[in-house]
């Protein structure tokens, strides 16, 4: 019982550490908000890449390593799992709200087709380019407030 409580405490501690690691491309959200951290055990943190060629993957792993080391979890390994593949459904509600507040339209929930401008809320929006500043985003613009914005693509 004491041992189980100790394990749970270790896992909570590790979750707290990884929740503090920001995504290197979109620093307002953490790697946990984005669903990159798949699971945590006292021995290892399992992460998953968002896109196959995402250049941030290595940076993310290093940032998590640094954060774990700094918090005294030197023996906790980091493992990468490809399967099941990451999807934007794994972005938490909190993560979606943070993306929107940052000016990035969160990925559309299933069934929704209208993209809302994260600046003014208008749905009179149009795609400018299928790829934005990173592979996970497309470039859009609002026809009401005329501001360009990024849309986190459904994936």
């Amino acid at each position: 019982m004491v041992r189980a409580a100790g394990l749970a405490q270790a896992v909570d501690g590790i979750w707290n550490v990884v929740e503090s690691v920001p995504d290197p491309e979109i620093p307002v959200v953490s790697v946990v908000d984005l669903g990159i951290v798949r699971s945590v055990s006292p021995e290892k943190v399992t992460i998953t890449p968002t896109y196959t060629g995402c250049p941030a993957t290595q940076v993310i792993e290093r940032d998590i390593r640094d954060a774990l080391d700094a918090a005294g979890y030197r023996n906790v390994a980091i493992e990468t799992a490809l399967s099941p593949p990451w999807t934007t459904d794994w972005i938490s509600e909190e993560g979606r709200a943070k993306l929107k507040a940052y000016g990035i339209a969160p990925p559309l929930p299933p069934g929704q087709r209208e993209v809302e401008c994260p600046q003014c809320g208008s749905t009179r929006t149009e795609e400018v380019s299928r790829f934005g500043s990173t592979p996970c985003k497309a470039q859009w613009r609002c026809r009401d407030c005329l501001e360009p914005f990024d849309l986190f693509k459904c994936h």
Partner: protein
């Protein structure tokens, strides 16, 4: 049983073929960086290249593990000579103009999307998991390039001429995508690889539908060029490798 049909050899060769297709096309798309007709297109081409290089990193890294001679993905990508590459002819073709690049992308990505769709069911867990992940990205490549085929084909006289020429240039390299040689058949029999001949008709249907929307004629069939999977390549691949491999070969232990 000949050495070439041992399961590890079949797996290694299969991974090389998959990885080399992605690596070489990724490098080709990278050549556009800073040269595309608009910034949006520049981003599209570079991002597709990035997706492909990500696939190559997985496939070639795994090939090195299977081979067991201590080569990692970088060693396989950067320290092999041209005759050891196993990519198809289509991906090594020079970029040409933007229309030719998009014609190549459309013919390749449409095929790769179907291939990865089949490989999701591979008995090799690694190939299955990379395919399941990458197929979503490749679907995007296929859509994007199909849109450009339509836009340029059904565009001005000039854009139409260029797209028709781009498709015509690449047409002779399409049959190779569906070739089932000894290795491909052995991989399919073991459930590791896909039987590509199974989706030839679907592929033709999809290509024809896009060409019809682009108001373009289906190019005339030409004598197929085969042999990339066995290391027979055109003059262009060596030039591509010279650029791609220059730095790691000149400074073998360089890091950054």
């Amino acid at each position: 049983m000949s050495a070439a049909t041992e399961t590890t050899d079949v797996l290694f060769e299969t991974l090389l073929r998959l990885g080399d297709d992605s690596l070489i096309l990724g490098q080709r798309l990278g050549e556009w960086c800073g040269h595309a007709p608009s910034v949006e297109v520049d981003l599209s081409l570079a991002n597709m290249g990035l997706d492909l290089i990500g696939q190559a990193t997985h496939f070639l890294g795994r090939a090195g593990e299977i081979e067991g001679n201590g080569r990692d993905g970088d060693a396989i990508a950067f320290r092999r000579d041209v005759l050891d590459f196993r990519n198809c002819w289509l991906v090594e073709q020079p970029n040409g103009d933007f229309a030719r690049t998009m014609a190549r992308q459309f013919l390749f990505s449409t095929w790769q999307e179907m291939l990865f769709g089949h490989l999701e069911g591979s008995k090799d867990d690694f190939i299955a998991s990379v395919a399941a992940k990458a197929v979503k990205e490749v679907r995007y490549h296929a859509e994007l390039s199909a849109e450009w085929v339509i836009r340029l084909g059904d565009g001005t006289g000039e854009s139409r001429r260029r797209m028709a020429e781009g498709l015509d240039w690449h047409w002779r390299f399409v049959p190779e995508l569906f070739e089932m040689d000894e290795i491909a058949s052995a991989a399919a029999e073991r459930g590791i690889g896909a039987d590509v001949s199974a989706f030839r008709e679907d592929y033709d249907r999809r290509v024809r539908a896009v060409l019809a929307e682009a108001t373009l004629e289906v190019p005339k069939d030409q004598r197929p060029i085969l042999g990339g999977r066995r290391g027979h390549h055109g003059e262009h691949l060596g030039h591509l490798l010279a650029v791609m491999q220059y730095l790691p070969r000149t400074y073998p232990d360089a890091t950054w």
